[in-house]
């Protein structure tokens, strides 16, 4: 039977789980070390030695942190293909000034690119590309991001530019926008540039991971799937912001529910999100990474100020948003502190066994009842947002504060799932992740029917999933959406498809 290890390298702890056929067989929690490597090695060494995982999946914040802290970033050159189109909006427009200063990127506009219907805007000019390659060689810049107008639908120009750059200067590493981002030229170029800036760090980080784990390595991506370690060295940007997705995916499988609301009750807040087909529903808005707008999408999470450390008002029973946070162990009544927290209420009501119960024996039933009323009203409002016509979704309750609210949710008549191992949902989410492929294409309605367009995008997503390592017969389509280019006399369609599948293990 296949064993897979999932590792979540968090800011505080590094969690590891060992999973066989979807079941957790062992887990470990150790402090994260500054070099990351030490924590991973320590976590893996706590797992039983008799069971060697076939693959290790790592969820990491290394690349997010590098971008946020503006460190370990390489200078990159942005080449925009499609002159004169988009010249009024040059690369890096809207970026935070300190990031622009920190990286010393360069920008070039070159001829080429396509219109929505595939007509060339201009012809590619090999000499133009050659001059750029030579200039970059002289300046010592080795990272290039190539973004072509309508490049997601017509990637040929980007591919050609990459070939020409490589033939001129073999030290250049080229990131192509159609492999990184979606429709929307600036966000796609932003993602591609950030990717280029991260690549040297990614190579170093991946080789550290490979030193720590001896088996095949996969890295978590922000869409809930994993990519092979070698791909992660080329596309580190996909690893950014994978944490929330992993934790919701983990909750989905641990709770055995594909359509559900996930409530993660922490010390200060409760994060709520909704699962559809086992994947978190994405937020409508674009994800900003280190102040730069990309067109990746994060799970649609709503955060409310209810957690184990939330202050409780004795008079009216209101809970939060202020919290004692990580100082619960000093300030909560049950630990000898002077602050009435939601944890104290739970202990007083006998829902939780923690600290010294005698210290909260004096809390009157009235205070508990008022806090309960308050929470019931808050949760009922929160949950109402996720109701679909006629059906109530079950709730998967995870996080350290789960016992605080479980009975209240049941009072509301809700089905509550409290999976085991909810504490390591994030590492578990990494372990069970599949691989995927995405396509974001445009079609002219004169040439292709809507059904055919949808089919072609779906096929392309499946093809890319196979390329990412999916076994063919396990692939399913998880997203398929189209939008028309309204206001045009001859219609055109944009179709986006995403497919996922199980990892095809080499020795199967």
């Amino acid at each position: 039977m296949k064993l897979v290890a999932g590792i979540d390298v968090g800011g505080t702890n590094t969690d590891a789980v060992l999973v066989r056929d979807g079941q957790i067989v062992a887990w470990a929690k150790v402090p994260t070390t500054p070099d990351v490597y030490g924590g991973i090695v320590a976590a893996l060494s706590r797992l039983p030695h008799t069971a060697v995982p076939r693959r290790v999946h790592i969820g990491t914040t290394a690349f997010t942190n590098a971008l946020v802290e503006r460190r370990d970033l390489a200078s990159a050159a942005a080449i925009r293909v499609g002159r004169p189109v988009s010249e009024s909006l040059p690369p890096m427009t809207g970026w935070p000034a300190d990031l622009v200063e920190a990286v010393h990127n360069r920008s070039y506009f070159v001829s080429g690119g396509r219109e929505y219907d595939g007509q060339p805007i201009g012809a590619l000019d090999r000499e133009e590309i050659r001059d750029i390659a030579r200039g970059l060689a002289a300046s010592g810049i080795s990272q290039v991001a190539v973004t072509s107008v309508f490049g997601t639908s017509y990637p040929e120009d980007e591919v050609r530019v990459a070939e020409w750059l490589a033939s001129e200067n073999q030290n250049l590493q080229v990131s192509l926008s159609h492999r990184i981002g979606r429709f929307g030229i600036l966000e796609r170029e932003n993602s591609t540039l950030l990717n280029a800036m991260l690549r040297p760090l990614a190579v170093r980080t991946l080789s550290a991971y490979k030193a720590a784990v001896t088996t095949e390595l996969f890295i978590s991506q922000n869409d809930g799937t994993v990519m092979h370690g070698t791909q992660a060295a080329e596309a580190p940007i996909f690893a950014v912001a994978s944490g929330p997705t992993n934790s919701m995916r983990g909750a989905a499988i641990l709770g055995s529910a594909r359509e559900a609301i996930v409530l993660d009750v922490g010390g200060t807040t409760t994060d709520a999100g909704v699962l559809h087909l086992g994947y978190p529903q994405p937020a409508g808005l674009e994800l900003t990474v280190a102040g730069v707008r990309t067109n990746f999408r994060m799970p649609d999470l709503v955060s409310v100020g209810i957690g184990g450390g939330s202050l409780v008002d004795r008079a009216n029973g209101s809970v939060g948003p202020h919290s004692v946070g990580f100082r619960l162990a000093e300030r909560a009544l049950i630990f000898g502190g002077d602050t009435l927290t939601l944890t104290d209420i739970a202990v007083a009501a006998g829902r939780m066994d923690l600290g010294e119960r005698a210290r909260v024996a004096h809390i009157e039933a009235g205070i508990i009842a008022r806090a309960d009323d308050h929470l019931r009203a808050r949760f009922s409002r929160l949950l109402e947002n996720y109701e679909r016509t006629g059906a109530q979704l079950p709730i998967i309750l995870v996080g350290g504060g789960a016992p605080l609210v479980e009975n209240l949710l049941r009072d509301l008549g809700r089905e509550v799932l409290r999976p085991s191992y909810a504490d390591v949902a994030n590492a578990y989410g990494a372990a069970i992740a599949q691989v995927g492929g995405e396509a974001d294409l445009t079609f002219s309605s004169r040439a292709v029917s809507r059904r055919e367009a949808l089919e072609r995008a779906e096929q392309e997503a499946h093809r890319r999933a196979v390329e990412a390592g999916a076994s063919r017969n396990s692939i399913i389509t998880v997203e398929l959406e189209d939008a028309a280019f309204s206001y045009l006399a001859g219609d055109a369609l944009r179709v986006r498809a995403r497919a996922v599948g199980d990892i095809e293990d080499a020795s199967q």
Binding site: S88, T93, Y487
Partner: protein, 372 residues
């Protein structure tokens, strides 16, 4: 009363204008970024009332014609706007004294600001819709017959589009006596746009006298006022929906969540219906809104309570962020608002072009407020 637009006002202007966009008008994010660049280094654009224009002078409007989706790959082009401006200016017999927006709703309100900043002239506090509409004949100018005889130009990223092309496409269309004024021109421009990469710019000039009686006045200040109200409500943890209602002299109809979106693409437009179930105080109520790029007809529990040309707009309940028709999806928490249309749009002659009938609905105009 005159005032100035600075770089720091662009976000509020865009936010307010997308409320007035009624779900359409295009995504203005790239336009805002270009505006921030043009208005950098303390460039300011004065905003004046049409009465402040010199009587013999002209004001120029520039608008994008085409697919909002194309704008995401082909951002607003300053050279295209300048090419249109140069062509129109050279054909005028008097001076240009200002720029103005054809459409306050959405992306279009940015273009006159870009030109005004580059040329160093003011923008007029007004537009030709007071909202967003999908087609060129739906402007107050077309409705009141002021389009004829003045120069116009079409341009694209690569410069001016030959006037011959406009003529050729113009004359080929049969016209029925029932067509609203300007519809032939709309069709011609739409065809040229489709052949030119799906996005072109339309520039035209109007004299002060025509503007005086056809401009929807105060729309720039209204957009700014609504945008600032949303921003300050957010900062002060106040209700952004209430802020929009107050700033826009509007009415809140229902707060709820989207349960269903049906859409189909017909003849180049995005048609559909969005269904919203009320929550909290509106529990048990159901809203149904028909849209064609913009929200057109609002039904509440089966009864039509508001129609075009009045403004039907959706905002995210929590943030007050306007919700355009292209991002509608089940689960989104929204509030439905109505704002009154300009009186220029609600006269009988105007309703022929912009009332429910102009969009194919067999309905009379249902206004926000009964006329006195």
């Amino acid at each position: 009363m005159s005032f100035e637009i600075r770089s720091s006002d662009i976000t509020a202007l865009a936010l307010g204008s997308s409320v007035l966009g009624c779900g359409g008008g295009g995504n203005s994010y790239y336009g805002q970024l270009v505006a921030h660049r043009v208005l950098a280094a303390d460039v300011v654009v004065p905003v004046i009332d049409v009465d402040e224009m010199a009587p013999e002078s002209f004001a120029i409007t520039a608008a994008a014609v085409g697919a909002p989706l194309v704008c995401l790959e082909k951002p607003p082009s300053l050279p295209a706007l300048q090419a249109g401006l140069e062509s129109v200016r050279s054909a005028l017999c008097g001076p240009v004294s200002a720029f103005f927006a054809a459409e306050i709703g959405g992306l279009q309100c940015i273009f006159p600001v870009l030109l005004a900043a580059e040329v160093g002239l003011p923008v007029l506090d007004g537009d030709s819709m007071g909202r967003a509409f999908p087609e060129l004949q739906m402007t107050t100018f077309s409705i009141y017959g002021t389009t004829h005889g003045l120069p116009h130009a079409l341009s694209g990223d690569r410069g001016l589009i030959s006037p011959d092309m406009v003529q050729r496409n113009h004359s080929g269309e049969p016209e029925s006596p029932d067509d609203p004024p300007g519809i032939r021109f709309e069709r011609a421009v739409r065809k040229i746009c489709t052949a030119h990469g799906g996005l072109i710019y339309f520039t035209s000039a109007f004299d002060q006298k025509s503007l005086n009686h056809t401009l929807v006045r105060g729309s720039i200040s209204l957009a700014l006022c609504i945008g600032r109200a949303i921003e300050s409500a957010r900062q002060g943890n106040m209700d952004p929906i209430g802020a929009i209602v107050e700033a826009g002299d509007g009415k809140r109809f229902i707060g709820g969540k989207i349960v269903d979106v049906e859409r189909q693409f017909r003849a180049g437009h995005d048609w559909g219906t969005v269904r919203i179930h009320g929550v909290e105080e509106d529990r048990g109520r159901v809203a149904e809104i028909a849209f064609k790029n913009e929200y057109l007809v609002l039904g509440l529990n089966g009864e039509v309570v508001l129609t075009v040309p009045d403004l039907i707009t959706l905002a995210e309940t929590e943030s007050g962020t306007p919700v355009s028709t292209d991002i509608l999806r089940p689960g989104l928490r929204v509030t439905v608002l109505g704002l009154p249309a300009s009186p220029l749009l609600t006269k009988a002659v105007a309703l022929k072009s912009v009332g429910p009938g102009a969009f194919g609905y067999n309905l009379g105009y249902v206004p926000l407020r009964k006329s006195e």
